[in-house]
Amino acid sequence: MKDIQHILRMAGVFVVVISGFLLVRHLLVPASFGLYGHYRAAAIDDIKALPISFVGQKECAKCHGPRVQEKNKGGHRNLGCETCHGALAAHAAAPAKSRPVRVAEKDMRAFCERCHAASFSRPAKFPQINPDAHNPGAACNSCHNPHSPRL
């Protein structure tokens, strides 16, 4: 009878330590941890809930249908509206409060040359101009319609 006392006392210590460990683990580990893998599943919802800035051209077409159609027929058909006009989610939500980027005439050459200035690095099939020889000083949109740039 005396011997079993040792075992019982030891068992008591084990029960306390293990239940203590389980309690601490329960308090520290988030509920969704391990649902899909070794990570907190709720983190996915946190990331999903982040706001968007770029809204996509479908949304633009709701108000600016003819413009989008004009663009989609021309050489710039593969461009999204937001490639040139900047992120437009705020504008789509409140059109009067947030205005899209409109390239000013004085910045236009630099803006267009960012893609179209001739460079050995660009793919040869991509339309490029030599800025020094191609009507220097003239705004690009005095000849080219940005929404349908081919002449």
């Binding site: 983190a43 050995f120 690095s121």
Partner: protein, 257 residues
């Protein structure tokens, strides 16, 4: 103290070997699918849907940097240089064997035009971003389970759980992670997870003017990225690392690492 090894008879040895073989075969027979996936790397996009993938056509990149700018706007990436979720590199390859690589401000402001000079053979732009590896080192080294791969194949970071130890940043063989100076957590491309789960394209794909970036669902054979992989010769970066990237490139030069 002298340890005495128990002598083993031939019969016992054969028994042990036969036992291991039988138990291995039993395991294989009981869960063949799990075994196949573990040993032969069955692509998850055959069974999971959606499963997101990305492709980059190097020969379509014009180096305008609109993708870098769009990424920074969409994901609140710090505007200073050295913080990038995606960036563009310019390679200049010379006949002498010399290769120059540059990425001024990650290519965000575009690249100054160059002319073919000296013994320069080729020059091209390579957009870089997270490869969303199937076997991602960053995910494996995270000590707290803050880096993980979702059921639809995107490698993400749990900002609340990240302790900022930077182990993942140095583990990524592609240099695709950075330490966020304000949030004090590791940060990287999420493939715009908040956009793709809403049915939109990632911001860089949305902004690319020349179709250099292709995004889609690998589990759908009709998606743009599946069609791209079907119709083009594609390659991944650093295949020898065994990371199995889901980002594939067309027109990759041997100099690109």
């Amino acid at each position: 103290m002298k340890i005495k090894m128990k002598p083993i008879t031939r019969r016992q040895f054969f028994k042990t070997v036969a036992g291991s073989v039988v138990s291995f075969a039993a395991l294989l027979a009981s869960a063949p699918r799990a075994f196949a996936e573990k040993f032969f790397h069955e692509p998850p996009w055959l069974t999971k849907s959606p499963y997101w993938g990305m492709a980059i056509a190097v020969d379509n990149c014009i180096g305008c940097g609109k993708c870098v700018e769009a990424c920074k706007t969409e994901n609140d990436v710090p505007r200073q240089p050295y913080f990038f979720r995606t960036w563009v590199e310019r390679y200049m390859i010379h006949r002498s064997g010399e290769t120059k690589v540059e990425s001024p401000n990650g290519g965000m402001d575009g690249f100054p035009p160059i002319k073919k000079s000296g013994d320069m053979m080729r020059s091209f732009f390579v957009p870089k971003m997270c490869n969303h590896c199937e076997n991602s080192p960053c995910e494996q080294v995270c000590p707290v389970g803050a880096s993980f791969r979702t059921q639809d194949g995107v490698v993400l970071i749990d900002r609340k759980y990240c302790i900022g130890c930077r182990y993942c940043i140095q583990a990524c063989p592609y240099g695709c992670r950075y330490f966020h100076p304000k949030l004090h957590v590791a940060d990287k491309c999420t493939l715009c997870y908040h956009r793709i789960t809403r049915g939109l394209k990632p911001a860089c794909v949305e902004a690319c003017p020349n179709g250099a970036r292709i995004f889609g669902d690998l589990s759908n054979p009709e998606s743009p990225v599946s069609k791209f992989i079907e119709n083009n010769t594609v390659q991944v970066l650093k295949p020898a690392m065994g990371t199995r990237p889901k980002l594939v490139y067309r027109g990759l030069d041997r100099e690109v690492r």
